[in-house]
Structure formats: C-alpha cells, structure tokens
Symmetry: C2
Subunit: 336 residues, 2 copies
C-alpha cells in the first residue's frame, strides 16, 4: 500500500483525503489494505505490491521459486495484518526475453503452492516482456467476517506485542550477501535465516485469531522493521510508544549468525524488516487471555515488548534502566 | 489479464482450470476481468495491468500525464468490456531516483482526473524506486448489476460490431515515432490521432448500456487489435467469424495521416490495436434496436462488420467480392 518516498506528495495527501470520504470506502490509503464495502456489511480488503529486481530482490540470492513465494507472502501478510481472510490473487509478471520457460513456471508454481495453502485462488494477471530484470505485481483481495484491525486505533496504555522472534530475515540477507559458508555456522541456522528472508511465512491464522479475540486494538505487519512499523501505528493512531529494547524477541539463529558474521542481531530485529510477524496492541486486562489464547489456537506465543504512550512522548526504545536506546530507523525499502 | 507469451504455459493452463472450478469464482483467467462473487448475487470484477517504459510506452512521446491517464484508461476499458461499473483503483508506481516531484504529481493527477470522471476512487497502491525507467501497475475493481458480458459466449449467426472507428491509435503512434510535423498534415488530425494513442477514452458508458440492452451475446475491448481480439472471442467461444474488410470503420484522421506518412490505414485499423473501442456480438434480430439504442444513449453509432461463423471456418476477412483478404495479426504487445 502507499508508502515510501512519495507518501508526502501533496497529490497523495489529496487522494488520501478524498479516499477517506468516498462512499463505500471504509479505509483508503494509509493502512495495509484498502477496506471496501461492495454492499452493506460485506467488507472487501485489497492490497497490491510492486516487486522489482535489484530493488526488492536480487536474482543472485532469490530463485524464481523464492520470488513467486515471497510476492504472494508479502501480500498475504497485508491481509493478515487486518485479520482478513485472503481470497483472490491477480499476478502480473514481466521477464526479459532471455528468461527460460522453466523459470517462469517455477515462479507461478511457488505462488500457486502458497496460494493453495491459504485457500487463495489465482484468478488473473498480466504478462509481458521486460527490458531489464524481473518485475512482479501482485494484488490480493480478501474478506473479513468482522471489523478489520487497523493501524490507527491504538490507545494510550495498550500493551504492544509481537507474534514471534525478529531479525531472521535481515540475518538471512546478511548471510546471502556475504556469500559466507563459514564452517563455524550451523547449517540449520543458515537454512533458517535464509528461509526467513526468502520464504517468509505470513501470519494469516494468527491475524484472524487476533481480530476475533476481542481486546486487540490495532495491528500491522512487520515489513519495514519494528521501529518504522511501530512508528506507522503511532503516527496513524496519534499516540507514542515506549518499548523495552531487551524484551524484543530476537531469533536465536539470527543471534548466532550475527556472532559469526560480526553483525548486530538487535539492529536486525528492530530495523531490518521483512520478518512478517504481526505487531499488535491490546488492552492490558486482555493480555493474558490473548497471549495464551493465541498460543493454544496457533502454537505461537506472542511477546509483550512495551506500551502505548502519549503522543508527546514519541516512540522510544529504552534499556532495563529506562534509559533511551538509540536505534537505526528501518529502511522503508530494504533491498533484498 | 493473462495473455501474451506465457499464456500457453502448462502452469497457466493448470491455474486457469483450477480458477474456473474454484468456489465463488465465476470467471477466472481468460477474459478481460476476473468475475468474483464475494457473496451470493454480488459480482465483483477485477483486472490488473503492468505497464513498463520502453515496452508499453516511451517517455519520448508520452508525458507523465499521458502515462497516468492511459494506465487507468486501459483498465477502465477492461471493466467496460464486461459491461461493469468501475469502482476502486490501486495504483503502484516505480520511478528512477532522478524523477522530479512534478512528474510524479502529474502522473497521479491525470489518473485521478480520469478516475473522478468515472466515479472511481483511488484507494491504495504502492510506490518504490526503479533501477531503470517508469513501471506502473494498476488494478481496478468494478461491479455489475446484472450478468457480465464475456468473450466466450458468441454464437454462430451473431452479428459482429464495433462501437467506433479504428486505426487512430496506430496512426498516432506512427506520427509520434516518425517525428513528422509535415506542413501537409492538418493540426486537428495530428491532435486527434496523438490523443487517440496517448489518452484513449474507454467506452464505459457504452459497455454498460450494451450489457443491459439484451441481445448482446459477447464483448471484448479492442486492445490488441481487431484481428487478434476477434480471434480471442472466437477461440473462447469455439466459433469462427467472417468480417467484411470494407465495412471495418477506419478513422478519417488516420486515413489522412496514412496518406501523408505513406502508411496503411486499413492495417492500422485491423492490426494496430489500442483503440479501446468495444467489439461485441449480438443476435441479428436485436441489431437495429441495439444500434439505435446505443446511439440514443451514448451518441456513438456502432458499425456491423461481419458475422460469427462455424468454428471450422476460422476467422476470415473478405473483400466486397467475398475473397479472403490477407491481414497482419495484431501485435499482442504493441509497443507505444
């Protein structure tokens, strides 16, 4: 959805304002999905992502199978972040004329396999040649049975939580771009972080459960990184947040890869992005119920990492002594 | 929608077959839009187009305003070809870092202006940088009050008709790429054909009227060219067609531009593509009513150009004496 360098253009602000007032548009630009109302009571979620070789992925690391998987996964994650049920996908692909048929087939097969797992039907698309590099656009439509969870509805005092450990994707990217096959790295760790980066698992079941649980007030998926995405929630909700940096769950494999590559696992977990876990806020009194309920329903135990504060407090990460920790803001377009 | 070089891949055939059997998917891959059924009786149309610099347009001819207009126009035309009402657009744009803010604003303003005219709301999108050239993906969602008109339902004996003169877009492209500003060309003609190419007018009102008129059996928009698009209708409907080449309406401005540039206006009208008029088939007994009804409702008088024949006859264009005329098949991706 609209983000990145042009989000502050006057025309985008004007389109955003207009979309917010249009009939049968519940949510326009500014959240993970648009929320449309084809007829009273029936809500439709729509999201689109444009993925470009050497901006969003590199063929040196990512196979056609990886690309097809991830193109759908990132859109599934947008639907998940609103608690929606993904339904229909439109897949547009442009490749250079030199592309082999097997590569194109592998791309579609991967997207289709992931679509099948989430009961999504690929219903259309577009194909063309590209003058240079692969270009993919994936549009995903979904539905919600209840009200979708938004970015803009976090409230002061809410608990801030994430659905799982972070930093695996950035660790995978660091490993892939280093070309390292160091003997001191465990092959299980390497597989895990590469997979976190190339074939992320969107938290569709978790999102649906959280949207229906009651007490969850806002949600977003962690695509741009914890610092940036929590910033989006605070900006849209007109609140601040205080995060205990030590409570941010960091992937164990990412920690070990960081040790081997001289990387910073904490920075990967807070700024790296593309982990596609969900970040949500909830009423404090609902936390225990939600924490155990989500684990029972999906096997994933969420972690509380902080709380929503007044807008004036801004977004701060603090150490165990309550002192602010300086953290790099995540890349809005973290090149993979 | 899916077309072009990969349409014959085994995986696309498999996806197409699966989409055709999925619950709540009335029409999957193979028509201008996917037809979805979010809930019983409510039909949703969805279409997407990926537009890439130097494949689908050239910045030397097309301004950001032209690109923004056309990106939406070609998708409006897909909704029009099914008789739908366009509703919501998702606009994804990637530009090189050197792109000026005014160019990006001009792109969005043009798309927005055309959206406004058709009561479409821009509800989301995506933005990113591009390593080379502009890349746009536009997804458009629409609705139908009645049953959508498909490509696959033409019947032997039906009249084949088009909603207006053809060849203007190809004439415009020929003019733009020749760089000609010949004194013997009328400036009104030059403006008309350039506009036909750069800012086509999708026939949304005409499509809606035809879908509701009764007696219209199939419809498609003329994006790839008359020969190719009529071929799509025949292929999907398992029929053939016989077109009187002399009855194909050719844009007068295109004829004069052809004379000046030594071009072939007939070839432009039958093979050039991108005119975005509608091609439809109808029951012979309904023709007079439809012809005058469409003119009364929209001001456009459709032209009958031939009739649907047995599949074994194939698709033929004949002269006044009934002799087959050889015509180049339209380009599936006619570079602009």
């Amino acid at each position: 959805m609209t983000k990145g360098p042009v989000r502050e253009l006057a025309i985008i602000r004007a389109i955003r304002q207009r979309a917010g007032r249009a009939p049968r548009v519940r949510v326009g630009i500014g959240d993970d999905c648009a929320v449309l109302e084809p007829r009273p009571g029936a809500l439709l979620l729509a999201t689109t992502d444009l993925l470009i070789e050497d901006i969003h992925f590199r063929r040196a690391y990512a196979s056609p199978t990886d690309i097809g998987w991830k193109a759908l996964a990132v859109n599934l994650s947008d639907i998940a972040s609103m608690g929606g049920e993904p339904r229909w996908a439109l897949v547009a692909l442009a490749c250079p004329p030199s592309t082999r048929t097997e590569e194109v087939e592998a791309f579609y097969e991967a997207a289709w396999a992931l679509a099948d797992r989430h009961e999504v039907t690929v219903v259309g698309g577009d194909t063309s040649s590209s003058p240079a590099g692969w270009i993919i656009n994936l549009t995903l439509l979904g539905e919600t049975t209840g009200a979708p969870l938004l970015r803009s509805t976090a409230r002061v005092g809410d608990i801030v939580a994430v659905t799982g450990p972070l930093g695996g994707s950035a660790a995978g990217l660091a490993l892939l771009s280093s070309g390292a096959t160091a003997a001191r790295l465990d092959s299980g760790d390497m597989d895990e972080v590469r997979r976190a980066h190339l074939r992320p698992e969107p938290r569709v079941r978790e999102g649906r459960w959280l949207a229906g649980a009651g007490g969850v007030t806002a949600m977003i998926d962690l695509s741009d990184g914890l610092v940036t995405d929590l910033g989006h929630v605070c900006e849209e909700s007109l609140v601040g947040a205080r995060v205990d940096a030590d409570r941010v769950p960091v992937s164990s494999a990412a920690r070990r890869v960081a040790a081997a590559l001289d990387g910073d696992a904490r920075a990967w977990a807070t700024g790296g992005g593309e982990d596609y876990e969900l970040l949500f806020t909830c009423e404090p009194r609902a936390w225990d119920r939600i924490r155990h309920g989500l684990e029972n329903a999906t096997g994933r135990l969420p972690q509380a990492i902080g709380e929503i504060a007044d807008r004036a407090a801004g977004v701060t990460f603090v150490d165990a002594a309550g002192r602010p920790v300086a953290l790099a803001r995540g890349f809005e377009h973290f090149a993979t």
